[in-house]
C-alpha cells in the first residue's frame, strides 16, 4: 500500500509536468519570433530573391502557427531542427557536443555546494551565537551577495595571474586543475545558500521536542545529529535543489564565458548574439526540461524521505 501511494504520487507529478513544459515551449517560441531582426539579417543587404529563397528553405515564410506546428512535430521526435548559423549541424548535435562538459561542471559544483554547505551549516547551528557561527554566517552572506561575474574574475586575478597556481583559462591547460576555479566560482553562492538553509533548519530541529527526548535518553550530540537531526534538517534543502539547478545553469553561462569553456552556456551566448533561433530555442527547451525534471525528482524524493508524506 505504501509503495502504491508513492508510485501514484510520482505518476501524478509526472503528468502535471507535461503542460508546464508545453507552455514553456510555446512561450519561448513566440518570444524568439517577436524579437526584432531575423537570423539572416546582415549588415550588408542580401538580394531580395536570395533572402526569399533562404526563408522558404527554412519555412520562415509560413504563418507563425504553422511554423510552430512544424517545429513541435519535429520536437516530439527529438529533432530540434537545423542550426541557422552552423550550417550542416543540427541543434541536437550541437547541444549534445557541448552538454557533457557543462553537466560535469554543474554536477561538480552542486556536489561541492552540498558537502561544504551542509558541513558549514551544521557547524554554525551547533555553535549558534558564538564567534564561529557569526564568522560562518558572515561569509555565507558575502557568498550570496557577491555575483558570479565579480567573483570569477577576482579568482582568475588572484589564483591564476598573481599566484600562478591554477590555469587562468580552459584552453591554457588540459589537467584536471582547470576544473577547479570554474567549479568553485560556480559553487560559491550555492555553498552559501545551502549553509544558511542548513543552519536555519538545523537550529529548528535541534530545539524540537524529539531532540529533547533524545537528549533525555542520554545520547551524545554527535549521535543526535547523525541519527535524529540530519535527515529532517536536510528536507528543506531538497526543495532548494530545484531552484539551485536553475541558478547553476545561469551561473554556468557567465562562468563559461569568463573562463572560455566550450560548454552549453557559451553556445547559448553565441546563439543569442547570432540570432540563431533554433539553437537558442533548443537550449532554452533543454534547460527548461532539466529544471522541470529536477523539480520532479525533488518532489518524488520528498515523498520517499518523509514517511508522513509517503503513505498518505
Amino acid at each position: 500500500m505504501q509503495q502504491r501511494g508513492a508510485l501514484r504520487f510520482a505518476l501524478t507529478r509526472l503528468l502535471s509536468a507535461i503542460p508546464t513544459l508545453f507552455l514553456i515551449i510555446v512561450l519561448a517560441f513566440m518570444m524568439m519570433h517577436a524579437a526584432p531582426g531575423g537570423p539572416f539579417d546582415e549588415e550588408r543587404a542580401m538580394p531580395p530573391e536570395t533572402a526569399a529563397n533562404i526563408e522558404r528553405a527554412y519555412h520562415l515564410d509560413e504563418p507563425l502557427p504553422q511554423q510552430f506546428m512544424r517545429y513541435f512535430g519535429a520536437l516530439l521526435q527529438g529533432d530540434l531542427g537545423p542550426s541557422y548559423r552552423y550550417p550542416g549541424y543540427s541543434v541536437a548535435e550541437l547541444i549534445s557536443a557541448a552538454m557533457l562538459l557543462s553537466l560535469q561542471l554543474g554536477a561538480l559544483a552542486m556536489l561541492c555546494a552540498l558537502i561544504v554547505g551542509i558541513a558549514v551549516g551544521v557547524l554554525a547551528a551547533l555553535r549558534r551565537n558564538t564567534p564561529i557561527d557569526r564568522l560562518l554566517t558572515g561569509l555565507a552572506m558575502m557568498g550570496i551577495s557577491i555575483p558570479i561575474f565579480v567573483i570569477a574574475p577576482i579568482f582568475v586575478l588572484v589564483f591564476a595571474v598573481n599566484l600562478g597556481w591554477l590555469p587562468a583559462s580552459w584552453s591554457g591547460s588540459d589537467s584536471g586543475s582547470r576544473y577547479l576555479l570554474p567549479v568553485i566560482a560556480l559553487a560559491l553562492p550555492q555553498i552559501a545558500y545551502v549553509a544558511r538553509l542548513t543552519r536555519g533548519s538545523m537550529i529548528e530541529i535541534m530545539s524540537s521536542d524529539f531532540v529533547r527526548t533524545a537528549r533525555a535518553q542520554g545520547l551524545g550530540t554527535f549521535t543526535i545529529v547523525r541519527l535524529h537531526a540530519l535527515r529532517p534538517a536536510m528536507l528543506p534543502l531538497l526543495s532548494y535543489l530545484g531552484p539551485a539547478v536553475a541558478a547553476v545553469l545561469t551561473g554556468s553561462v557567465v562562468v563559461e564565458q569568463i573562463f572560455g569553456i566550450p560548454g552549453l552556456g557559451q553556445l547559448f551566448v553565441r546563439g543569442a548574439l547570432n540570432r540563431d533561433y533554433t539553437l537558442v530555442l533548443g537550449i532554452v527547451i533543454f534547460y527548461a526540461t532539466l529544471v522541470i525534471v529536477f523539480n520532479l525528482i525533488v518532489d518524488i524524493l520528498y515523498g520517499f524521505l518523509d514517511p508522513r508524506i509517503r503513505n498518505r
Binding site: R4, T213, A214, R215, G218, L219, R231, P307
Partner: protein
Amino acid sequence: MTLLSIRDLTIRYERSPRPVVDTLSFSIAKGDSVGLVGASGSGKTQTALAILGLLHGKARTTGSIRYAQQELVGASERVLNNIRARRIAMVFQDPGTALNPYLRIGTQLRQVVLQHRLATGAEVNQRVIRMLAKTGLPDPQRQFNAYPHQLSGGMRQRVMIASALLGEPELLIADEPTTAIDATVQAQILALLRELRQETGTALLLITHDLAIVAGNCARTLVLHDGRLLEEGSTQTIFARPVQERTRSMLAAVREGHGPAAEFCASDRGPTLQVRDLTVSYTEPASDRFWGRSERVAVQPLSVGIRRGETVAIVGESGCGKTSLARAILGLVPARGGSVRLFGRDLSPQLRGRNNTERRNLQLVFQNPVASLNPALRIKTAIAEPLKIHEPELTAAERAERVARMLERVNLDDELLERLPHELSGGQAQRVAIARALIVRPALLICDEAVASLDGPVRQGILDLLAEEQRRSALSIIFISHDLNIVRQISHRVLVMYMGRIVETSVSRTLFSKPLHPYSRALIDCVPVPDPGVMPPAPPVTGEAPSVFARPDGCVFHPRCRYAVERCKTEMPHEECIGGTLVACHRAAELDLSPARRVS
C-alpha cells in the same frame, strides 16, 4: 534512602525579572511517588527539565540538585548523559512531537540500548521488543518497524514509556503524560504506570495540573504556584486538610461538578436548531485500488434538536465524529445527507449558500484560541471585525462602544485592546475568541474543546462566563468535549458519540447517576476520582476506538464492550427510549450500570 534532593533551586531567564522557579526544595526517596501539581506557568515542567539538565540555553540555574551524591546543577554533558535514561528517565507530554517522525520506532529505541551498552548483538532488538510488549503495545514485533505517525496517540505514549524504562531508571519523571490523550486511554496509561512501578519499584515524579490524577497515583503531593512551593505533604493530608487558600480552590475546581450553573427552563418555542439524519463523509485516495477515491463515513445519519437556552454536550473519544458533526452544522464541511434547520428553516449544506443572518446566528469557538485569532490584528480590531460584516450600518463610535461593552462582559481589561494575540495568556485569548463570537448576538454557539487547553481556575472562569452569557441571552450552546468532568458542569443534555453514532442521549444529571449504555459508563469510570482514599479502578475499556474506516459489524462498540453477547456481533442495536433516555444497546434494559456511590 533519598534518591534525589533539590535545595533552593532557582531558574531564571535572562530577560524576565521574576524567576520561573524560586528557591524550590524537595526530595524524592527510593520507590516514592510524588505529584508535582500546579497551573500552567507554575514552573513544574521547568523543574523537571532542570533535573535532567535539559533547560534552554538561556536559563540560569542556581541551587543544588543532587542525585546519589552527584551534583547535577552545572554538571557536564558527559556526567548528565550517564544519569539520563540510566538513573532518571522522562516521559514527555505530547508523544506526537516527542518521538522523531522520521525514524522507525525500533531505531529510536535501539539507540537507547546501544548508547548505554545495555545489550549487544541480537539482544538489542530483543530487549526493545520485550519492553514494548511490557507496555501493552499490541504486536510489538510489527510496531518495531512502524513510524510514530502510524500509531495512535495512546500507542505512542506507550512507546514513550517503553523508551524511558529501557534503561531501568530509578526515577521516572512523567510530565503531563496523559494531557494530550483521550480519557479512556488516560485511564489505561495511568494504570500501566502503576503496574510497571509495582513491578520495578521505580520512583515516580508525576507532573500534572490535575489534582484528581495525583489522588490515585501519588503518595506525596507538592503544590507549586508561581515557581514557589505552596504546600507539601502526604496526598491524604493535602486532600483532607489543605492549608493554603489556593490549594483549596484547586481542590474545589476538581471536586465541583454537580449540575450546570444555569438551570435550563424549557420554553415551548420550537427548537433553535434541528438536525435530521445528518451524514458526513470524507473521501480520500483509495488504498486498495490504484486510481480513484474511497468514501469514509465520519458521521452516520444522526438527528438532534437544540432548544433555546439549552446546552447540549457531545462527548466521545477523538475520532468519534463529534467535530465533523459540528463542522457540518456550521457548513464548514458539506453534509452528505440530511438537513440542518435553524428556527425551522433549512440551511444550505455549504457555507457559501447561507445568508448573513444565518451565518451570524451560528458561531464557533475553537480549542486553540491563539491560533484562531489573526496574529497581526490587535484585539480591538479582532473583536470589531465580525460587526463590520454583520452590522455594517454601525458607525465607528457605535462599534467601539459595542466592543467595550462586550469586553466588560467577558471580564477583560480594556488595556488589552491594543495588544496582539500572542501577548495574551491562554485564558485571555479564549475570552477574546468568545467575545468575537458573541458580539454578533448569535442564537447558537458551538464550543469545540473550547477549554481543553486551559486548566484549573482559568478553565472554571470560562465555563462560568458561558453559563452567564446563556442566562443573559438564552443562548443555545453545543459543547464538544472529551472530558466528562467539564460536561457534567455545563450541560443540560449529553449526547455520547461512538464511531459516528449517538449511542446515548440523556439528561446530564441522569447520565451520571444512571447511564444506560456500557460506553457511557466506561467514560464515566475513566474520570479520575479526586479522592486519595479511592483506589483507581482497572481501566473500564481496553484499546482505543478503532478508526471509523474499520467499523465493526453489529454493535459498533462490541469489540470493547464487557457486556457483549453473541447477538451484539451481528445485529445493530436501534435507539430506544428508556425512562426518558435514548439509548442504542441490546442490553440497556437488563443491565444496571449505575456507578457505585463515590465516597468523598
